[in-house]
Protein backbone atom coordinates (compact mmCIF):
# COMPACT_ATOMS: atom_id res chain seq x y z
CA UNK A 1 0.00 0.00 0.00
CA UNK A 2 2.65 2.46 1.00
CA UNK A 3 4.91 1.71 -1.93
CA UNK A 4 2.15 2.24 -4.39
CA UNK A 5 1.23 5.62 -2.96
CA UNK A 6 4.85 6.66 -2.90
CA UNK A 7 5.39 5.72 -6.50
CA UNK A 8 2.22 7.44 -7.61
CA UNK A 9 3.26 10.47 -5.66
CA UNK A 10 6.71 10.45 -7.22
CA UNK A 11 5.29 10.28 -10.70
CA UNK A 12 2.89 13.09 -9.94
CA UNK A 13 5.66 15.16 -8.42
CA UNK A 14 7.94 14.75 -11.40
CA UNK A 15 5.13 15.42 -13.86
CA UNK A 16 3.86 18.53 -12.14
CA UNK A 17 7.27 20.02 -11.56
CA UNK A 18 8.33 19.29 -15.12
CA UNK A 19 5.30 21.11 -16.39
CA UNK A 20 5.90 24.06 -14.10
CA UNK A 21 9.56 24.20 -15.02
CA UNK A 22 8.69 24.19 -18.68
CA UNK A 23 6.40 27.11 -18.03
CA UNK A 24 9.17 28.87 -16.18
CA UNK A 25 11.30 28.57 -19.28
CA UNK A 26 8.50 30.05 -21.37
CA UNK A 27 8.09 32.88 -18.92
CA UNK A 28 11.75 33.70 -18.72
CA UNK A 29 12.74 33.34 -22.37
CA UNK A 30 11.79 36.89 -23.40
CA UNK A 31 14.27 38.26 -20.87
CA UNK A 32 17.04 35.94 -21.93
CA UNK A 33 16.43 36.66 -25.57
CA UNK A 34 16.41 40.40 -25.00
CA UNK A 35 19.60 40.38 -23.01
CA UNK A 36 21.35 38.02 -25.39
CA UNK A 37 20.25 39.95 -28.44
CA UNK A 38 21.56 43.17 -27.01
CA UNK A 39 24.97 41.71 -27.63
CA UNK A 40 24.30 40.88 -31.25
CA UNK A 41 24.75 43.20 -34.21
CA UNK A 42 21.48 44.13 -35.82
CA UNK A 43 21.77 41.73 -38.71
CA UNK A 44 22.16 38.84 -36.31
CA UNK A 45 19.06 39.65 -34.31
CA UNK A 46 16.75 39.38 -37.26
CA UNK A 47 17.77 36.35 -39.12
CA UNK A 48 16.75 32.84 -39.78
CA UNK A 49 17.24 30.50 -38.17
CA UNK A 50 17.13 32.20 -34.86
CA UNK A 51 19.89 31.73 -32.36
CA UNK A 52 19.34 32.43 -28.75
CA UNK A 53 22.86 33.24 -27.78
CA UNK A 54 25.07 35.68 -29.64
CA UNK A 55 27.97 34.47 -31.73
CA UNK A 56 30.33 36.76 -29.95
CA UNK A 57 29.95 39.57 -27.50
CA UNK A 58 29.24 42.65 -29.51
CA UNK A 59 29.21 45.82 -27.51
CA UNK A 60 28.33 48.10 -30.40
CA UNK A 61 24.71 48.43 -29.35
CA UNK A 62 25.64 49.68 -25.91
CA UNK A 63 28.12 52.12 -27.35
CA UNK A 64 25.54 53.38 -29.77
CA UNK A 65 23.02 53.67 -26.98
CA UNK A 66 25.07 55.88 -24.75
CA UNK A 67 26.55 58.03 -27.49
CA UNK A 68 23.49 58.62 -29.64
CA UNK A 69 20.98 59.04 -26.87
CA UNK A 70 21.15 60.80 -23.50
CA UNK A 71 20.62 57.37 -21.98
CA UNK A 72 22.74 57.95 -18.92
CA UNK A 73 20.81 61.11 -18.26
CA UNK A 74 17.58 59.17 -18.54
CA UNK A 75 18.93 56.66 -16.06
CA UNK A 76 19.84 59.40 -13.63
CA UNK A 77 16.42 60.98 -14.00
CA UNK A 78 14.72 57.69 -13.31
CA UNK A 79 16.82 56.89 -10.27
CA UNK A 80 16.31 60.35 -8.85
CA UNK A 81 12.59 60.39 -9.38
CA UNK A 82 12.15 56.86 -8.08
CA UNK A 83 14.22 57.53 -4.98
CA UNK A 84 12.35 60.70 -4.15
CA UNK A 85 8.98 59.15 -4.85
CA UNK A 86 9.73 56.16 -2.65
CA UNK A 87 11.00 58.19 0.29
CA UNK A 88 8.18 60.67 0.08
CA UNK A 89 5.63 57.89 -0.13
CA UNK A 90 6.96 56.02 2.83
CA UNK A 91 7.11 59.07 5.01
CA UNK A 92 3.92 60.91 4.16
CA UNK A 93 1.73 57.87 3.71
CA UNK A 94 3.21 56.47 6.87
CA UNK A 95 2.33 59.38 9.06
CA UNK A 96 -1.07 59.82 7.50
CA UNK A 97 -1.87 56.15 8.01
CA UNK A 98 -0.58 56.41 11.54
CA UNK A 99 -2.75 59.43 12.20
CA UNK A 100 -5.86 57.68 11.00
CA UNK A 101 -5.03 54.58 12.98
CA UNK A 102 -3.96 55.96 16.30
CA UNK A 103 -5.58 59.31 16.83
CA UNK A 104 -9.04 60.51 17.49
CA UNK A 105 -9.76 63.84 15.92
CA UNK A 106 -12.66 65.73 14.53
CA UNK A 107 -13.52 65.00 10.93
CA UNK A 108 -11.45 61.84 11.08
CA UNK A 109 -14.25 59.77 9.64
CA UNK A 110 -15.01 62.22 6.86
CA UNK A 111 -11.41 62.68 5.93
CA UNK A 112 -10.87 58.97 5.77
CA UNK A 113 -13.94 58.62 3.60
CA UNK A 114 -12.32 61.06 1.22
CA UNK A 115 -9.21 58.91 1.13
CA UNK A 116 -11.32 55.91 0.20
CA UNK A 117 -13.29 57.80 -2.40
CA UNK A 118 -10.16 58.97 -4.13
CA UNK A 119 -9.19 55.33 -4.49
CA UNK A 120 -12.19 54.69 -6.63
CA UNK A 121 -11.59 57.06 -9.45
CA UNK A 122 -9.37 55.81 -12.28
CA UNK A 123 -6.66 58.26 -13.28
CA UNK A 124 -7.90 58.66 -16.84
CA UNK A 125 -10.23 61.36 -15.69
CA UNK A 126 -7.36 63.26 -14.14
CA UNK A 127 -4.68 63.35 -16.76
CA UNK A 128 -6.22 65.88 -19.10
CA UNK A 129 -6.96 68.55 -16.49
CA UNK A 130 -3.70 67.82 -14.68
CA UNK A 131 -1.83 68.44 -17.89
CA UNK A 132 -3.46 71.82 -18.24
CA UNK A 133 -2.63 72.60 -14.62
CA UNK A 134 0.98 71.66 -15.17
CA UNK A 135 1.08 73.86 -18.24
CA UNK A 136 -0.39 76.80 -16.33
CA UNK A 137 1.96 76.35 -13.40
CA UNK A 138 4.78 76.13 -15.92
CA UNK A 139 5.72 72.82 -14.44
CA UNK A 140 5.74 70.99 -17.75
CA UNK A 141 8.98 69.19 -18.42
CA UNK A 142 10.16 69.27 -14.83
CA UNK A 143 10.69 66.67 -12.15
CA UNK A 144 8.05 68.37 -10.06
CA UNK A 145 5.36 67.61 -12.57
CA UNK A 146 6.15 63.92 -12.44
CA UNK A 147 6.45 63.73 -8.67
CA UNK A 148 4.05 66.08 -6.99
CA UNK A 149 0.54 65.30 -8.27
CA UNK A 150 0.80 61.63 -7.38
CA UNK A 151 3.20 61.91 -4.48
CA UNK A 152 0.93 60.66 -1.74
CA UNK A 153 -1.13 57.67 -2.78
CA UNK A 154 -4.39 57.00 -0.93
CA UNK A 155 -3.92 53.26 -1.26
CA UNK A 156 -0.70 53.39 0.74
CA UNK A 157 -2.38 55.46 3.41
CA UNK A 158 -5.06 52.81 3.63
CA UNK A 159 -2.47 50.06 3.82
CA UNK A 160 -0.39 51.81 6.45
CA UNK A 161 -3.43 52.41 8.54
CA UNK A 162 -4.25 48.72 8.47
CA UNK A 163 -0.81 47.90 9.78
CA UNK A 164 -0.68 50.70 12.27
CA UNK A 165 -3.90 49.61 13.93
CA UNK A 166 -1.97 46.86 15.63
CA UNK A 167 0.48 49.19 17.34
CA UNK A 168 -0.13 48.95 21.09
CA UNK A 169 -1.40 52.17 22.59
CA UNK A 170 0.73 51.71 25.68
CA UNK A 171 3.87 52.30 23.67
CA UNK A 172 2.54 55.63 22.48
CA UNK A 173 1.43 56.48 25.93
CA UNK A 174 4.83 55.81 27.47
CA UNK A 175 6.43 57.80 24.71
CA UNK A 176 4.33 60.77 25.62
CA UNK A 177 5.10 60.41 29.27
CA UNK A 178 8.76 60.54 28.40
CA UNK A 179 8.11 63.88 26.76
CA UNK A 180 8.55 62.80 23.19
CA UNK A 181 7.03 64.96 20.46
CA UNK A 182 4.29 63.34 18.42
CA UNK A 183 6.52 63.23 15.40
CA UNK A 184 9.26 61.83 17.58
CA UNK A 185 6.96 59.03 18.67
CA UNK A 186 6.27 58.20 15.09
CA UNK A 187 9.87 58.17 14.03
CA UNK A 188 11.44 56.54 17.05
CA UNK A 189 8.78 54.26 18.43
CA UNK A 190 6.27 53.37 15.77
CA UNK A 191 8.42 53.21 12.66
CA UNK A 192 10.93 50.68 13.92
CA UNK A 193 8.27 48.18 14.82
CA UNK A 194 6.43 48.64 11.54
CA UNK A 195 9.41 47.93 9.40
CA UNK A 196 7.62 45.45 7.19
CA UNK A 197 4.80 47.89 6.53
CA UNK A 198 7.27 50.51 5.44
CA UNK A 199 9.12 47.96 3.37
CA UNK A 200 5.94 47.04 1.57
CA UNK A 201 4.96 50.60 0.83
CA UNK A 202 8.51 51.39 -0.17
CA UNK A 203 8.69 48.47 -2.53
CA UNK A 204 5.33 49.12 -4.11
CA UNK A 205 6.25 52.77 -4.52
CA UNK A 206 9.55 51.86 -6.05
CA UNK A 207 8.00 49.50 -8.55
CA UNK A 208 5.28 52.00 -9.35
CA UNK A 209 7.74 54.81 -9.97
CA UNK A 210 10.20 52.74 -11.96
CA UNK A 211 7.53 51.32 -14.25
CA UNK A 212 5.46 54.47 -14.60
CA UNK A 213 4.87 55.65 -18.17
CA UNK A 214 1.55 57.31 -18.96
CA UNK A 215 1.97 60.36 -16.78
CA UNK A 216 5.68 60.94 -17.52
CA UNK A 217 5.12 60.66 -21.24
CA UNK A 218 2.50 63.37 -20.99
CA UNK A 219 4.45 65.87 -18.95
CA UNK A 220 8.06 65.24 -19.91
CA UNK A 221 8.74 66.78 -23.25
CA UNK A 222 12.40 67.42 -23.82
CA UNK A 223 14.84 64.63 -24.40
CA UNK A 224 17.10 65.40 -21.50
CA UNK A 225 14.25 65.17 -19.02
CA UNK A 226 12.92 61.79 -20.04
CA UNK A 227 12.81 58.89 -17.69
CA UNK A 228 13.90 55.51 -18.99
CA UNK A 229 10.49 54.30 -20.04
CA UNK A 230 9.74 57.43 -22.02
CA UNK A 231 13.18 57.56 -23.59
CA UNK A 232 13.08 53.94 -24.67
CA UNK A 233 9.61 54.41 -26.11
CA UNK A 234 10.87 57.29 -28.24
CA UNK A 235 13.60 55.10 -29.64
CA UNK A 236 10.92 52.94 -31.23
CA UNK A 237 9.30 54.87 -34.05
CA UNK A 238 7.87 54.03 -37.42
CA UNK A 239 11.24 54.67 -39.02
CA UNK A 240 14.74 53.43 -38.42
CA UNK A 241 14.43 51.50 -35.21
CA UNK A 242 17.88 50.60 -33.88
CA UNK A 243 16.70 47.33 -32.40
CA UNK A 244 20.06 46.37 -31.00
CA UNK A 245 20.28 49.58 -29.02
CA UNK A 246 16.64 49.36 -27.99
CA UNK A 247 17.15 45.89 -26.56
CA UNK A 248 20.29 47.07 -24.82
CA UNK A 249 18.36 49.97 -23.36
CA UNK A 250 15.58 47.65 -22.23
CA UNK A 251 18.00 45.22 -20.62
CA UNK A 252 19.76 47.92 -18.66
CA UNK A 253 16.46 49.42 -17.58
CA UNK A 254 15.19 46.16 -16.20
CA UNK A 255 18.26 44.93 -14.39
CA UNK A 256 18.08 47.14 -11.28
CA UNK A 257 14.53 46.30 -10.57
CA UNK A 258 15.05 42.59 -11.09
CA UNK A 259 18.08 42.62 -8.81
CA UNK A 260 16.17 44.58 -6.20
CA UNK A 261 13.36 42.10 -6.51
CA UNK A 262 15.58 39.07 -6.13
CA UNK A 263 17.13 40.56 -3.01
CA UNK A 264 13.83 41.42 -1.41
CA UNK A 265 11.64 38.66 -2.74
CA UNK A 266 9.70 37.90 0.33
CA UNK A 267 8.93 41.52 1.02
CA UNK A 268 7.92 42.07 -2.55
CA UNK A 269 5.52 39.22 -2.68
CA UNK A 270 4.16 39.93 0.76
CA UNK A 271 3.65 43.49 -0.35
CA UNK A 272 1.71 42.72 -3.45
CA UNK A 273 -0.41 40.07 -1.82
CA UNK A 274 -0.92 42.13 1.30
CA UNK A 275 -2.67 44.70 -0.79
CA UNK A 276 -4.97 42.07 -2.14
CA UNK A 277 -5.77 40.40 1.13
CA UNK A 278 -6.42 43.60 2.99
CA UNK A 279 -8.75 44.83 0.30
CA UNK A 280 -10.63 41.63 -0.23
Amino acid sequence: MRNRTNRAELVARVALNSLLLLLVVVWVIPYIFTLASSFKPQSEIFRLPIRLLPESTFTGNYEFLVTQYPYLRWYMNTILITAIQTTVSMFFCGIAGYAFAKYEFRFKKTLFMLVLISLMLPIQVLITPLFIQMARLQWLDTYRAVLIPFAVQPFFIFLMRQYMLSVPDDLLHSGRIDGCTELGIFVRIVAPIQRSAFAIVGILSFVGAWTSFLWPVIVLRSRDMYVLNVGIATMVGPYNVPYGAVLAASSLATIPIIVFFLLMQRNFIDGMTAGALKSA
Partner: protein, 298 residues
Protein backbone atom coordinates in the same frame (compact mmCIF):
# COMPACT_ATOMS: atom_id res chain seq x y z
CA UNK B 1 14.99 64.93 22.71
CA UNK B 2 12.46 66.53 24.97
CA UNK B 3 11.08 69.86 23.93
CA UNK B 4 8.12 71.55 25.44
CA UNK B 5 5.75 73.33 23.18
CA UNK B 6 3.41 76.07 24.39
CA UNK B 7 0.24 74.72 25.91
CA UNK B 8 -2.11 76.00 23.27
CA UNK B 9 -0.33 74.04 20.61
CA UNK B 10 -1.20 70.80 22.35
CA UNK B 11 0.77 68.34 20.28
CA UNK B 12 -1.58 65.48 20.71
CA UNK B 13 -4.46 67.43 19.28
CA UNK B 14 -2.74 69.19 16.44
CA UNK B 15 -0.46 66.36 15.36
CA UNK B 16 -3.00 64.28 13.45
CA UNK B 17 -4.04 67.28 11.39
CA UNK B 18 -0.47 68.06 10.55
CA UNK B 19 0.18 64.45 9.70
CA UNK B 20 -2.66 64.15 7.23
CA UNK B 21 -2.19 67.64 5.88
CA UNK B 22 0.34 66.80 3.16
CA UNK B 23 -2.04 64.30 1.67
CA UNK B 24 -4.98 66.65 1.78
CA UNK B 25 -3.17 69.60 0.35
CA UNK B 26 -2.14 67.49 -2.61
CA UNK B 27 -5.57 65.92 -2.67
CA UNK B 28 -7.34 69.24 -2.98
CA UNK B 29 -4.96 70.66 -5.57
CA UNK B 30 -4.37 67.62 -7.72
CA UNK B 31 -7.41 65.47 -7.27
CA UNK B 32 -10.48 67.44 -6.27
CA UNK B 33 -9.75 70.40 -8.50
CA UNK B 34 -8.90 68.34 -11.60
CA UNK B 35 -11.91 66.08 -11.12
CA UNK B 36 -14.23 69.05 -11.29
CA UNK B 37 -12.21 70.86 -13.90
CA UNK B 38 -12.33 67.77 -16.04
CA UNK B 39 -16.08 67.75 -15.83
CA UNK B 40 -16.09 71.38 -16.86
CA UNK B 41 -13.67 70.69 -19.72
CA UNK B 42 -15.79 67.88 -21.01
CA UNK B 43 -18.57 70.30 -21.84
CA UNK B 44 -16.31 72.65 -23.74
CA UNK B 45 -14.73 72.65 -27.12
CA UNK B 46 -11.10 73.14 -26.19
CA UNK B 47 -9.19 72.42 -29.35
CA UNK B 48 -5.81 73.85 -30.21
CA UNK B 49 -4.71 77.24 -29.08
CA UNK B 50 -7.23 79.84 -28.11
CA UNK B 51 -10.23 80.20 -25.82
CA UNK B 52 -12.70 77.41 -25.06
CA UNK B 53 -16.30 77.41 -26.12
CA UNK B 54 -19.19 75.97 -24.19
CA UNK B 55 -20.84 73.15 -26.09
CA UNK B 56 -22.97 71.40 -23.53
CA UNK B 57 -23.28 67.66 -23.93
CA UNK B 58 -22.03 67.80 -27.49
CA UNK B 59 -18.81 65.91 -26.76
CA UNK B 60 -20.67 63.05 -25.15
CA UNK B 61 -23.15 62.85 -27.99
CA UNK B 62 -20.24 62.76 -30.43
CA UNK B 63 -18.62 59.95 -28.48
CA UNK B 64 -21.64 57.76 -28.89
CA UNK B 65 -21.35 58.11 -32.65
CA UNK B 66 -17.56 58.06 -32.82
CA UNK B 67 -16.51 54.81 -34.48
CA UNK B 68 -13.00 54.94 -33.06
CA UNK B 69 -14.25 55.47 -29.54
CA UNK B 70 -16.67 52.60 -29.91
CA UNK B 71 -13.90 50.45 -31.33
CA UNK B 72 -11.67 51.26 -28.38
CA UNK B 73 -14.53 50.46 -26.04
CA UNK B 74 -15.07 47.11 -27.72
CA UNK B 75 -11.36 46.31 -27.74
CA UNK B 76 -10.85 47.19 -24.11
CA UNK B 77 -13.92 45.31 -23.00
CA UNK B 78 -12.88 42.23 -24.95
CA UNK B 79 -9.53 42.49 -23.28
CA UNK B 80 -11.05 42.91 -19.84
CA UNK B 81 -13.37 39.96 -20.01
CA UNK B 82 -11.01 37.84 -22.02
CA UNK B 83 -8.38 38.41 -19.39
CA UNK B 84 -10.70 37.32 -16.62
CA UNK B 85 -11.73 34.19 -18.46
CA UNK B 86 -8.15 33.26 -19.26
CA UNK B 87 -6.02 34.53 -16.42
CA UNK B 88 -8.20 33.57 -13.46
CA UNK B 89 -8.56 29.85 -14.23
CA UNK B 90 -4.92 29.50 -15.20
CA UNK B 91 -3.92 31.50 -12.14
CA UNK B 92 -6.06 29.30 -9.96
CA UNK B 93 -4.54 26.18 -11.47
CA UNK B 94 -1.07 27.55 -10.83
CA UNK B 95 -2.01 28.52 -7.29
CA UNK B 96 -3.27 25.04 -6.59
CA UNK B 97 -0.07 23.65 -8.04
CA UNK B 98 2.03 25.94 -5.88
CA UNK B 99 0.04 25.05 -2.83
CA UNK B 100 0.48 21.34 -3.30
CA UNK B 101 3.08 19.49 -1.30
CA UNK B 102 4.46 18.15 -4.54
CA UNK B 103 6.01 21.47 -5.47
CA UNK B 104 7.00 22.51 -2.03
CA UNK B 105 10.69 22.71 -2.64
CA UNK B 106 10.65 24.69 -5.84
CA UNK B 107 7.84 26.98 -4.87
CA UNK B 108 10.07 29.97 -4.19
CA UNK B 109 11.68 29.57 -7.57
CA UNK B 110 8.36 29.43 -9.35
CA UNK B 111 7.06 32.49 -7.57
CA UNK B 112 10.03 34.50 -8.74
CA UNK B 113 9.83 33.40 -12.35
CA UNK B 114 6.13 34.00 -12.77
CA UNK B 115 6.32 37.27 -10.93
CA UNK B 116 9.03 38.92 -13.02
CA UNK B 117 6.66 40.38 -15.62
CA UNK B 118 4.84 42.42 -12.99
CA UNK B 119 7.89 44.39 -12.05
CA UNK B 120 9.00 44.91 -15.63
CA UNK B 121 8.06 48.27 -17.10
CA UNK B 122 5.26 47.96 -19.64
CA UNK B 123 7.36 49.67 -22.27
CA UNK B 124 10.08 47.05 -21.92
CA UNK B 125 7.50 44.27 -22.11
CA UNK B 126 6.12 45.77 -25.28
CA UNK B 127 9.57 45.94 -26.81
CA UNK B 128 10.47 42.39 -25.83
CA UNK B 129 7.32 41.11 -27.43
CA UNK B 130 7.60 43.23 -30.55
CA UNK B 131 10.67 41.20 -31.30
CA UNK B 132 9.01 37.92 -30.37
CA UNK B 133 5.86 38.63 -32.36
CA UNK B 134 7.76 39.87 -35.40
CA UNK B 135 6.45 38.24 -38.51
CA UNK B 136 9.52 37.26 -40.45
CA UNK B 137 12.15 36.70 -37.83
CA UNK B 138 10.36 36.55 -34.53
CA UNK B 139 10.80 33.77 -32.03
CA UNK B 140 7.19 32.65 -32.13
CA UNK B 141 6.96 32.35 -35.87
CA UNK B 142 10.18 30.43 -35.96
CA UNK B 143 8.58 27.94 -33.61
CA UNK B 144 5.45 27.92 -35.71
CA UNK B 145 7.42 27.29 -38.84
CA UNK B 146 9.43 24.54 -37.23
CA UNK B 147 6.26 22.52 -36.72
CA UNK B 148 5.33 23.02 -40.32
CA UNK B 149 2.70 25.71 -40.07
CA UNK B 150 2.52 29.02 -41.88
CA UNK B 151 3.79 32.04 -39.99
CA UNK B 152 1.07 33.82 -38.05
CA UNK B 153 0.62 37.58 -38.43
CA UNK B 154 0.52 38.12 -34.67
CA UNK B 155 0.50 41.89 -34.72
CA UNK B 156 0.36 42.53 -38.41
CA UNK B 157 -3.20 41.43 -38.96
CA UNK B 158 -6.20 43.00 -37.27
CA UNK B 159 -7.74 39.56 -36.84
CA UNK B 160 -4.91 38.29 -34.70
CA UNK B 161 -3.72 41.42 -33.00
CA UNK B 162 -6.15 41.46 -30.10
CA UNK B 163 -5.56 37.77 -29.50
CA UNK B 164 -1.86 38.45 -29.33
CA UNK B 165 -2.47 41.17 -26.76
CA UNK B 166 -4.60 38.81 -24.69
CA UNK B 167 -1.80 36.27 -24.86
CA UNK B 168 0.61 38.92 -23.71
CA UNK B 169 -1.75 39.73 -20.87
CA UNK B 170 -1.62 36.16 -19.72
CA UNK B 171 2.17 36.28 -19.68
CA UNK B 172 2.20 39.48 -17.69
CA UNK B 173 -0.54 39.06 -15.13
CA UNK B 174 -1.28 35.40 -14.53
CA UNK B 175 1.62 35.07 -12.11
CA UNK B 176 0.25 37.84 -9.96
CA UNK B 177 -3.20 36.29 -9.91
CA UNK B 178 -1.68 32.98 -8.98
CA UNK B 179 0.09 34.60 -6.07
CA UNK B 180 -3.01 36.34 -4.81
CA UNK B 181 -4.97 33.12 -5.06
CA UNK B 182 -2.16 31.23 -3.38
CA UNK B 183 -2.31 33.62 -0.45
CA UNK B 184 -6.03 33.03 -0.37
CA UNK B 185 -5.58 29.26 -0.46
CA UNK B 186 -3.07 29.36 2.33
CA UNK B 187 -5.47 31.17 4.57
CA UNK B 188 -8.09 28.42 4.39
CA UNK B 189 -8.02 26.52 7.65
CA UNK B 190 -6.72 23.02 7.15
CA UNK B 191 -9.29 21.42 9.42
CA UNK B 192 -12.02 22.17 6.93
CA UNK B 193 -10.32 19.78 4.57
CA UNK B 194 -9.58 17.30 7.30
CA UNK B 195 -13.19 16.98 8.34
CA UNK B 196 -14.23 16.75 4.71
CA UNK B 197 -11.86 13.86 4.14
CA UNK B 198 -13.25 12.17 7.23
CA UNK B 199 -16.73 12.60 5.79
CA UNK B 200 -15.51 10.90 2.65
CA UNK B 201 -15.48 13.86 0.27
CA UNK B 202 -13.63 13.42 -3.01
CA UNK B 203 -11.00 15.98 -4.08
CA UNK B 204 -13.35 17.58 -6.55
CA UNK B 205 -16.05 17.85 -3.93
CA UNK B 206 -13.57 19.42 -1.58
CA UNK B 207 -12.65 21.89 -4.26
CA UNK B 208 -16.22 22.88 -5.04
CA UNK B 209 -17.57 22.92 -1.52
CA UNK B 210 -14.65 24.28 0.44
CA UNK B 211 -11.98 25.84 -1.71
CA UNK B 212 -14.09 27.91 -4.05
CA UNK B 213 -16.43 29.36 -1.46
CA UNK B 214 -13.51 30.19 0.82
CA UNK B 215 -11.75 31.88 -2.04
CA UNK B 216 -14.72 33.99 -2.92
CA UNK B 217 -13.54 37.28 -1.44
CA UNK B 218 -10.13 37.01 -3.01
CA UNK B 219 -11.60 35.84 -6.31
CA UNK B 220 -13.89 38.81 -6.30
CA UNK B 221 -10.98 41.11 -5.65
CA UNK B 222 -8.93 39.53 -8.42
CA UNK B 223 -11.73 39.67 -10.95
CA UNK B 224 -12.66 43.25 -10.20
CA UNK B 225 -9.04 44.32 -10.24
CA UNK B 226 -8.52 42.62 -13.59
CA UNK B 227 -11.50 44.33 -15.11
CA UNK B 228 -10.65 47.77 -13.77
CA UNK B 229 -6.97 47.43 -14.64
CA UNK B 230 -7.84 46.46 -18.20
CA UNK B 231 -9.38 49.82 -18.90
CA UNK B 232 -6.05 51.42 -18.13
CA UNK B 233 -4.14 49.30 -20.64
CA UNK B 234 -1.70 51.57 -22.38
CA UNK B 235 2.06 51.10 -22.04
CA UNK B 236 2.57 47.72 -23.64
CA UNK B 237 0.15 48.23 -26.49
CA UNK B 238 1.50 51.71 -27.17
CA UNK B 239 4.93 50.32 -27.91
CA UNK B 240 3.84 47.06 -29.51
CA UNK B 241 1.16 48.10 -31.99
CA UNK B 242 0.37 51.77 -31.43
CA UNK B 243 -3.28 50.78 -31.48
CA UNK B 244 -3.16 49.15 -34.87
CA UNK B 245 -3.44 47.57 -37.22
CA UNK B 246 -6.46 49.58 -38.15
CA UNK B 247 -7.38 50.30 -34.55
CA UNK B 248 -7.63 46.59 -33.78
CA UNK B 249 -5.77 47.11 -30.54
CA UNK B 250 -6.79 50.66 -29.76
CA UNK B 251 -7.55 50.83 -26.04
CA UNK B 252 -9.67 53.50 -24.40
CA UNK B 253 -6.75 55.04 -22.60
CA UNK B 254 -4.77 55.18 -25.84
CA UNK B 255 -7.62 56.90 -27.58
CA UNK B 256 -7.81 59.38 -24.75
CA UNK B 257 -4.12 60.10 -25.10
CA UNK B 258 -4.31 60.46 -28.85
CA UNK B 259 -7.27 62.80 -28.80
CA UNK B 260 -5.93 64.90 -25.97
CA UNK B 261 -2.22 65.03 -26.48
CA UNK B 262 -1.74 64.49 -30.18
CA UNK B 263 -4.83 66.08 -31.62
CA UNK B 264 -5.05 68.55 -28.75
CA UNK B 265 -8.79 68.30 -28.43
CA UNK B 266 -8.76 68.64 -24.69
CA UNK B 267 -12.47 69.02 -24.18
CA UNK B 268 -13.19 65.87 -26.11
CA UNK B 269 -10.49 63.95 -24.28
CA UNK B 270 -11.92 65.03 -20.93
CA UNK B 271 -15.24 63.59 -22.06
CA UNK B 272 -13.48 60.34 -22.93
CA UNK B 273 -11.92 60.34 -19.48
CA UNK B 274 -15.28 60.68 -17.80
CA UNK B 275 -16.75 58.01 -20.01
CA UNK B 276 -14.08 55.62 -18.84
CA UNK B 277 -14.92 56.50 -15.26
CA UNK B 278 -18.62 55.87 -15.75
CA UNK B 279 -17.97 52.57 -17.42
CA UNK B 280 -15.51 51.36 -14.82
CA UNK B 281 -17.66 52.42 -11.89
CA UNK B 282 -20.67 50.87 -13.52
CA UNK B 283 -18.90 47.58 -14.10
CA UNK B 284 -17.59 47.54 -10.55
CA UNK B 285 -21.08 48.00 -9.18
CA UNK B 286 -22.44 45.27 -11.40
CA UNK B 287 -19.69 42.86 -10.41
CA UNK B 288 -20.05 43.64 -6.72
CA UNK B 289 -23.79 43.06 -6.86
CA UNK B 290 -23.30 39.85 -8.79
CA UNK B 291 -20.88 38.58 -6.19
CA UNK B 292 -23.11 39.57 -3.37
CA UNK B 293 -25.92 37.74 -5.09
CA UNK B 294 -23.82 34.60 -5.35
CA UNK B 295 -22.84 34.92 -1.73
CA UNK B 296 -26.42 35.22 -0.58
CA UNK B 297 -27.36 32.18 -2.61
CA UNK B 298 -24.64 30.00 -1.14
Amino acid sequence: MTTRLPGWLNQKNSAPYLFVAPFFILFLSFWVYPVFYSLYLSIQRATGLGPMQFVGLDNYVRLIGDPRFLKSLANTSVFAFGSVLLQVPIGLALALAFNSTLTHRLRGFYRVAYFLPIITPGVVVGIMFSVIYEFDYGLLNQLVRSVGLDPIPWIRSPDYAMGSILLLGIWIWTGLKALYLLAGLQSIPKDYYESAVIDGASPSQQFLRITLPQLRPILMFVIIQTVIGSYALFDQVWVLTEGGPRDATLTMTMYLYEVGFQQFRLGYSAAIGYSIVFIVLGLTLVLLTAFKGLKDQA
